[in-house]
């Protein structure tokens, strides 16, 4: 009988494997130097029986840090599992219980929990945006395994009133966490956490600007893997340290006019998912084509720091505003213009030669607008768009080789396009 394992512990023990898979492929300060200790902390939390909160990419971890809990963004967990090539067995387990067409990100989590390979959390928190698949999995897991569950109900359209409503939902979460931990929220601690979070966000905005420079000094892989760091570690001094070092390093390169590649030939933006089961594709594009991936929808952090952190009310409103504008929550939730505008801005602001819509097959809402987004970007920004049908976590649906074949053809289009226009965009 196969021995059961503890995924978080094994990520903590063997983080070097994941790091090793990508080693030498990023320069500057490595995301993995910070992500490794984070998983160590998560492991220590669960070993000590302290409170581990599962949240998803639409929540942000600050409040949990302030409550002395360890938040773990389940999407980064499933991403790491997929990066280690272990997603498929959990997907198969989940598909014995739920339909195959639900999101593999959700299936990996369910499968791992059903296999007994994941220690269950003290609570799961997620918002009502952006997709049905989350809503069709997370409450069901909580019911199945018997842990508490909190839904952050968010309005469909974003405006002043939606911020108030969402802020109230976040405020109502505080007593739930207080009951769970037996600890009162320490406001000074929350303010301190928000201060770190704001400092980090300032750097994120500056780094966005840095990656808009031609040539971009940023390695494609760092651009995307930072997502895991920001989602899990916002509100920690470690994240501020990472981003400040990264910024200094990147700015130094910009000042010297240095790009990440000796010659940046093409600039790509990813207007949807990352091929999570083979992140090496980013490096392959750099190597084969001199094509740098300068931005990615998953990592499209454009929100401003929280303005007022002097009162709980101010923090809750700022937090609400922030989570309404989180990457993927902002674009995939709400009307399709949210998606279109963000994708268009990526193409224009980052001076893209081509845009890739790596379309996760489970995302019904995104596939329903894929053609419209493509048409509008090509017509209005003049940027060619490649739509790829794939499963971001499961190579059995579309293999890395097939994806590379499609990218080869696409790069030919981009080259011809660029020759014809004589300008990057």
């Amino acid at each position: 009988m196969e021995e059961r394992k503890d995924i978080i512990q094994s990520l903590s023990d063997n983080f070097a494997i994941l790091k090793g898979l990508l080693e030498g492929k990023s320069d500057g300060v490595s995301v993995f130097e910070y992500l490794g200790p984070y998983f160590d902390k998560a492991n220590a939390t669960q070993q000590s029986g302290d409170k581990l909160a599962w949240i998803n990419f639409g929540v942000m971890p600050e409040l949990f840090w302030a409550m002395d809990m360890t938040p773990i963004v389940v999407d980064s967990l499933t991403g790491a599992i997929s990066g280690l090539g272990e997603a498929m067995k959990y997907i198969d387990i989940a598909e014995q219980h739920i339909p195959d067409y639900l999101c593999s990100n959700n299936k990996i989590l369910l499968g791992a929990a059903l296999a007994g390979d994941l220690r269950l959390p003290s609570i799961m928190v997620h918002p009502s945006h952006p997709c049905d698949s989350n809503m069709a999995t997370y409450p069901h897991m909580a019911e199945h395994f018997g842990y508490p569950y909190y839904l952050i109900d968010m309005p469909y359209f974003r405006n002043e009133r939606s911020i108030e409503y969402t802020a109230r939902e976040l405020g109502n979460l505080i007593p739930v966490l207080e009951d769970l931990t037996g600890r009162k929220l320490d406001f000074d601690k929350l303010r301190q956490v928000m201060e770190y979070s704001n400092q980090a966000q300032e750097y994120v905005l500056k780094l966005n600007h840095i990656r808009q420079q031609v040539p971009s000094p940023y390695p494609s892989l760092d651009m995307i893997t930072e997502y895991g760091l920001l989602m899990n570690m916002a509100g920690t001094p470690e994240l501020v340290e990472y981003l400040s070092k990264k910024y200094e390093w990147a700015k130094g390169k910009v000042d010297k006019g240095e790009g990440h590649l000796p010659e940046e030939k093409y600039r790509l933006v990813w207007i949807y998912g990352a091929v999570t089961f083979d992140m090496g594709i980013f490096n392959w594009l750099e190597r084969e084509y001199g094509a740098v991936s300068v931005s990615h929808m998953n990592n499209n952090w454009t929100m401003n720091p929280v303005e007022d952190i002097s009162t709980l009310d101010g923090i809750l409103k700022g937090w609400a505003q922030k989570i309404e504008n989180l990457p993927m929550t902002k674009e995939c939730g709400g009307p399709w213009e949210n998606y279109l505008n963000a994708a268009m801005a990526l193409c224009k602001d980052y001076k893209a030669d081509g845009a890739i819509f790596a379309g996760h097959m489970a995302c019904k809402s995104n596939w329903a607008i894929a053609k419209m987004v493509k048409d509008r970007i090509q017509d209005e920004a003049g940027v060619p768009v490649l739509n790829i049908q794939l499963d971001l976590f499961d190579p059995r649906i579309t293999s890395a080789e097939t994806i590379k074949g499609m990218l080869n053809n696409f790069m030919t289009t981009i080259m011809e396009n660029k020759k014809g226009r004589g300008s990057p965009c």
Binding site: C103, L151, A362, K364, W367, A368
Partner: protein, 376 residues
């Protein structure tokens, strides 16, 4: 013609004589796409609410240019009909935040066919039932009311709303009486017939429907009860499940459907709307609190328990959980339903289907096997 035949005829077509007569009088019809739309507001505007289906849709080539094969066939079929102008009798179309598929149908129509309907409206529905959620939903309904008033030059007063609620409550009460008859040992109508009866009520004026229901209840008193069935079934599950023919297949094999929890069925009429001084708030409260579908995640346990209660009340032998392929909301429900039915020792058959009933061979085999299991 008997009331039952008349109602079945109405359910089986896209338009019907009552609707055509309504239109010929210069009156408006507004389509809506989810059970979370409070029809009473449309009714109070003097407009006919029409629950959109794509009856008879046999291909989706125009819709597939925009949507993909991972979008459920109900949403694609409705888009197909909209693009083919099959809904040209509609003067407006109302969406809610029901699911990822339908919300995008709204987006696609706005982008590529913005002028097809004088009103294309989207109602945000909260995913909770807290006081704040009810307030928010009330505001949304107020905006909807204003949109109706502005677009069609009508006035929707509180009195008209209260009157509409009372008409609809009468419908609900009559439908509950109909469903009560189905609980008897020898129900006077089949599940396929009952589904047709409910569907007919979604596309004709409610006053007329209430009259037909009363006549039907009279007729059913005289009708001989069904006794030659092999097993009594409860249907659970999904949106987009509006095809009586699908139920007929189960019943032809000897299963008798005696109750359901579907959004084209019992969910819309199990609870009356409790009217108080503020009819809009009453609608918001009632619609949010009515028996839920999986877009309300916190009601999961309640939903599954209600299936168990229904099985008991209807003395059913088993549950058929049917859902459309690519419907995430109902897909996730499988985990809970499977476990809890097993725990309660209630036999369960899970069926994944497409909107249009076709290729029935495998379906028949599975139902046959299930019925055999129930008979042991």
């Amino acid at each position: 013609m008997s009331a039952l035949d008349e109602l079945k005829g109405i359910a089986g077509t896209l338009t019907n004589p009552s609707l055509q007569e309504w239109k010929s009088e210069g009156r408006k019809v507004i389509g809506f796409l989810c059970a979370y739309v409070p029809e009473e507001i449309i009714h109070a505007a003097g407009i006919l609410p029409y629950r959109v289906r794509a009856v008879g849709c046999d291909q989706t080539s125009s819709a597939d240019v925009y949507m993909s094969q991972v979008n459920c066939t109900f949403s694609r079929s409705c888009l197909e009909f909209a693009l083919e102008d099959k809904y040209s009798f509609l003067d407006g179309l109302v969406f809610v935040w029901s699911c990822d598929n339908l919300r995008r149908v709204y987006d696609i129509l706005r982008e590529i066919r913005p002028d097809t309907f004088p009103l294309l409206h989207f109602i945000d529905v909260p995913h909770k039932t807290t006081d704040a959620a009810i307030d928010r939903f009330t505001e949304e309904l107020e905006s909807f009311k204003q949109a109706l008033e502005q677009t069609y030059g009508v006035e929707i007063t509180d009195d008209k709303l209260k009157e509409a609620i009372s008409v609809y409550n009468e419908t609900r009460s009559l439908l509950r009486q109909l469903y009560d008859l189905r609980q008897s040992k020898n129900p006077p109508l089949t599940g396929a017939e009952a589904l047709s009866v409910v569907l007919a009520g979604t596309v004709i004026p409610k006053q007329q429907y209430n009259q037909l229901l009363k006549k039907l209840l009279e007729e059913l008193r005289e009708r001989e009860g069904i006794s030659d069935y092999r097993a009594r079934l409860v249907i659970a599950g999904g949106g987009g499940c509006d095809d009586p023919e699908y139920f007929q297949i189960m019943e032809d094999l000897g299963g008798l459907i005696v109750n359901d929890t579907i959004c084209f069925g019992s969910r819309t009429f199990m609870e009356p709307v409790k009217v108080d001084d503020d009819p809009m708030a009453a609608l918001a409260r009632s619609y949010l609190n009515r028996p839920s579908c999986p877009r309300m995640p916190e009601k999961l346990a309640e939903r599954t328990n209600s299936i168990k209660e229904m099985v008991e009340k209807s003395q059913a032998d088993g549950v058929v959980f049917q859902r459309l392929r690519y419907c995430d909301l109902w897909g996730g429900e499988q985990l809970d339903i499977t476990r809890k039915m097993k725990e309660a020792n209630i036999p369960l058959l899970t069926l994944e289907r497409e909107y249009r009933t076709s290729a029935t061979g495998q379906l028949k085999t599975r139902i046959q096997a299930f019925l055999e299991r129930l008979e042991v």
